[in-house]
């Protein structure tokens, strides 16, 4: 087991957001978290990446293990540097005062020198050609979707082995959304482990191997994608079918 969350409880101030959830991600898997708004998906990702307060919540119980070792004490910057675990956060959070290119460059901050970056930039650009056009534009003036592309591209540029994506398709045009998901599949086949949070449960489950369903801070269902897609409650509540 690569990443393992054990009955994790977290609070914002005194609002409990997660009531002891447990899930795990194996090497080379695509796992998805689905659930209604406010279920605690983003919170889970924040907690795993050990983001500092005030935005991120406080762990009050449970544990997060990476390769069997607790990472609750790890410095946030080391999550990327040492554990190679990257997050593309909800709401993009790109650096608006930097150009597109600078945003991508910055993402390589923690990488050891000598990595062949140029080819990687190219890979990003072929995934999102629009970014190439806009490479020298101040990124805050990008359109919503363009910013989303940049956020995902940035996460990829950190050269991490595990990718955490929070609603990556938010605000993306369908054509790009599908393109992105195909790309994720391909990355996964190349060995990337992916933890995906997605509103579009249908799409997410078709991509993922396994999934967990969150509801108000609890895991209410889990299983392989097929099981979940077949599960009538899940259908009713989240697949809008």
């Amino acid at each position: 087991m690569l990443l393992q969350v054990e009955n994790l409880e977290v609070k914002y101030g005194n609002i409990q957001a997660l009531h002891g959830i447990s899930f795990h991600v194996n090497e080379g898997e695509i796992v998805t978290l689905i659930g209604a708004n406010g279920a605690g998906k983003t919170t889970s990702l924040y907690t795993i990446t050990r983001l500092p307060p005030p935005e991120a919540p406080r762990v009050v119980g449970g544990d997060i293990k990476f390769m069997g070792e607790s990472i609750l004490k790890t410095r946030p910057s080391d999550v990327v540097k040492k554990l190679h675990l990257a997050l593309s956060p909800e709401g993009r959070r790109i650096f608006g005062n930097l150009t597109v290119m600078e945003n991508l460059k910055l993402a390589t901050y923690a990488r050891e020198k000598g990595a062949d970056l140029d080819s990687e930039y190219e890979r990003i650009f072929e995934l999102f050609p629009r970014l190439k056009e806009r490479r020298n534009q101040r990124s805050e003036s990008l359109s919503g979707g363009e910013q989303q592309m940049l956020a995902v591209g940035r996460a990829l540029m950190t050269g991490c082995k595990i990718l955490l994506l929070d609603e990556p398709s938010m605000g993306l045009a369908p054509v790009l959304k599908y393109e992105l998901f195909r790309k994720l599949k391909q990355l996964n086949e190349e060995g990337m482990t992916i933890l995906l949070v997605e509103q579009n449960a249908n799409l997410a489950l078709h991509l993922a191997h396994r999934g967990y369903v969150l509801d108000t801070g609890n895991i209410v269902a889990e299983g392989t994608s097929e099981e979940l897609l077949g599960n009538p409650e899940v259908k009713k509540a989240y697949l809008g079918g």
Binding site: T49, R50, L51, P52, P53, P54, E55, R75, P76, S77, D78, V79, V80, K81, A86, L87, P89, R93, I94, F95, G96, N97, L98, E102, K105, L106, A107, Y109, A110, R111, R138, E140, S141, L142, R154, A155, T158
Partner: protein, 303 residues
């Protein structure tokens, strides 16, 4: 003619101090969007530190020659002042940041820290002013009717050097890029694997260190030290930084010299009392025409 040149020189020297302090302001601001109102007083502390360092080195214990003293005082002052700045960051600003306090509360804290520095100095060292010893034996060259001292040259060169250095750091290095990123959104910094606190500490080291340098040079040029020497010049330097476009190194540099030039020009033409009036009116007009300063990029609200 030489009258003009003489005043240009005066303006350059006086502007150098504004520039040096403004650079520190802008650097910290450029990273934390924190108006570090204590900066002027860190400059003052720098001057006093240099006074004691120099005093010690010249004194019986070390008994160095003035020149040696100068060469040693520069690094020592910069290091010690940097420590003061970093301490402030650690004990006053960082906790607030951690608690997610509104940035204006950090600004107020900075203001308060400034006052503390001023008055604790007054309380400890007493009210009577200090005389800064002469380190470099002054030479006065007369170039075509223009009197130049080696000190003035030194000051101006220092200002330019510091500017070039900081400009290089902020625009060319990855640390600099990280600095700019932090200023926009701290949240995503760790996600890039960037140790934020280290970057911030580096910023304060640079900012305060050069404030210390400015303090030393100032003490050498105007050798009468008093606890409030940093207040007015600090505020003005800050204004200069903003007019240049706060957060922008180039802006601070230009702004500093601009302010210096305006002040000297006004005084040579009008009674000295018009100095502030004119200076600030001009700055106001500049900001009126370019709301984000000379070099600041207009913030485009994307909706």
């Amino acid at each position: 003619m030489d009258f003009i040149f003489q005043n240009v020189l005066n303006a350059l020297q006086w502007g150098s101090f504004y520039a040096l302090i403004a650079l520190g302001y802008t650097l910290v601001y450029g990273v934390l969007r924190l108006i570090n109102f204590a900066h002027g007083d860190i400059f003052m502390v720098g001057a006093y530190i240099s006074f004691f360092v120099a005093g010690f080195l010249l004194g019986p214990l070390a008994g160095l020659s003035p020149m040696m003293t100068f060469l040693l005082t520069v690094p020592l002052t910069m290091i010690l002042t940097a420590c003061v700045g970093v301490t402030l960051e650690r004990i006053a600003y960082r906790p607030l940041r951690r608690k997610g306090a509104h940035r204006l509360y950090v600004v107020i804290t900075a203001l308060m820290c400034g006052l503390i520095l001023e008055y604790s100095n007054l309380a400890v060292l007493g009210a009577s002013r200090l005389k800064f010893p002469e380190l470099v034996d002054k030479q006065i060259w007369n170039v075509g009717g223009v009197a130049i001292t080696n000190l003035k040259v030194l000051v101006i060169v220092a200002a330019i050097a510091v500017f070039l250095f900081l400009q290089w750091v902020v625009t060319r290095t990855r640390v600099g890029m990280a600095m700019r990123a932090i200023s926009y959104d701290k949240f995503a910094i760790p996600l890039m694997g960037i140790p934020m606190d280290n970057i911030i500490v580096i910023t304060f080291i640079l900012g305060s260190g050069f404030a210390g340098l400015a303090g030393l040079l100032f003490a050498m040029s105007y050798p009468v030290l008093e606890p409030f020497m940093g207040m007015l010049i600090g505020w003005k330097a800050f204004i200069a930084a903003v007019v240049g476009g706060i957060g922008d190194i180039k802006g601070a540099f230009v702004g500093g010299f601009l302010l210096g030039a305006i002040e000297v020009a006004v005084v040579t033409v009008f009674p000295s009392t018009y100095r502030d009036l004119f200076a600030f009116t001009i700055l106001l007009l500049i900001l009126w025409m370019k709301p984000t300063g000379l070099f600041g990029i207009p913030q485009s609200t994307k909706i």
